[in-house]
């Protein structure tokens, strides 16, 4: 691993100013992607800004009809929180399927969303629930946040502080995990909030998480498995690798979307 200088700010403001000032600086949240990447020398930040001592970045609460999750909240908290289980059971279930217990103890929602790994679970939840990503500067709708493989709308000195999820009527997430990494080979998150239907897919797209508007249109008429019968996603634009071809992934989207709609009830 390349050497780096460690910083441990106490406030978001200090962290943001370090991020702006230092060249080749990176934020360290749970570290469960960044540290392995640094070990492989695929990342070599000169400055590492550890967010673990920054106040006010963890916690889960309902505010009105929205769930607010602090960016540094680890997966296990979302998985086991009574508030999340009661109001967003699909989100609690998703968090409980990320990685393994050791990963869930440390990996964070903010880290996952900021990294935007094309196979990660949380981007599907953020897009599938129409979340708002709250940073030290602004509020970014999930629809405008995810920009492609490992790319987001975040500016170089911007830090995610919270993620806000609006309450929905129905939601479910079904994933087909890669048996070795437990990342999603394909994962589909569906939700219904009034007349707004969202179908978000992770793992499959060559450009990261995306919505399937054809499925959403069909589900808008009637939210049921039958509405998706005969519909499919073209293999064009899907990722293809040793774990699965583009055609296979496209096929899985249809299968998992139907299962998710059935699970959402």
């Amino acid at each position: 691993m390349y050497a780096f200088t460690q910083h441990r700010p106490a406030t978001v403001r200090q962290a943001a100013s370090l991020l702006a000032k230092q060249e080749e600086a990176k934020l360290l949240a749970g570290g469960h992607t960044l540290i392995p990447t640094m070990k492989l020398r695929l990342a070599g930040p000169k400055h590492l800004i550890d967010l673990s001592k920054v106040e006010g970045l963890t916690g889960i609460e309902m505010r009105g009809r929205s769930l607010i999750v602090g960016a540094m909240t680890p997966h296990v908290e979302v998985q086991t929180s009574p508030v999340v289980k009661e109001n967003f059971p699909a989100l609690a279930e998703l968090a409980g399927k990320i990685g393994d217990p050791a990963v869930r103890h440390r990996g964070t929602i903010g880290g996952s969303i900021a990294n935007n790994d094309p196979n990660a679970d949380y981007p599907a939840a953020a897009l599938g629930l129409g979340a708002t990503i709250i940073t030290n500067k602004r509020r970014i709708p999930a629809d405008e946040f995810f920009k492609g493989l490992f790319e987001t709308a975040l500016e170089p000195d911007e830090i995610i502080t919270k993620v806000q999820f609006p309450k929905v009527n129905k939601a479910a997430y079904v994933k087909f995990p890669n048996p070795a990494s437990r990342y999603a080979l394909v994962g589909v998150f569906v939700s219904k909030r009034g007349s707004e239907i969202r179908v978000a897919v992770t793992g499959a797209g060559a450009n990261g998480v995306f919505r399937v508007s054809a499925f959403e249109q069909a589900l808008k008429k009637r939210f049921g498995v039958k509405s998706l019968e005969g519909l499919s996603v073209p293999a064009d634009g899907m990722a293809s690798d040793i774990h699965g071809s583009a055609e296979y992934r496209a096929h899985l989207i249809g299968v998992l979307a139907r299962r998710a709609v059935a699970a959402a009830g």
Binding site: F4, Q6, K39, R106
Partner: protein
Amino acid sequence: MKLPVKMTINGQMYSHEVEPRLLLVHYIRETVGLTGTHVGCDTSQCGACTILMGGQAVKACNFFAVQCDGAKITTIEGLAKNGELHPIQQGFWEKHGLQCGFCTPGMILAAHQMLERYPKPSEEQIRHQLEGNLCRCTGYHNIVKAIQWAAEQMAGKK
């Protein structure tokens, strides 16, 4: 530039100056000298380096030592008391839960966390909770039996 770290490992306080890039697992093995915690894959997947930090099972290869300043850590060396094996260790002995033994320290600490959370785990729960720990010898079958054995012993002692 080296930074000071202090942490409690198996009830004993350690204090050193370390490079920021030193991984916790290397700190435990090479600086402190407790080599029961193993480095299996070094890519954060295999779980051989699993330890308890603040009571939570975590992979020690996935932390910098400097992040763990002030932490309370238990490694495999901290489980036996007065020369008597912990019931989970005994279970691995009784049920032949290991062959080469390389993954065993991580398995045992993952099981420790599991039994705290689920004192009477089903076989399915055991297998699900062990998803982050890889074993290439046993096929997991006897590991599951060892944990079931330990769960029964620990329930009996309460």
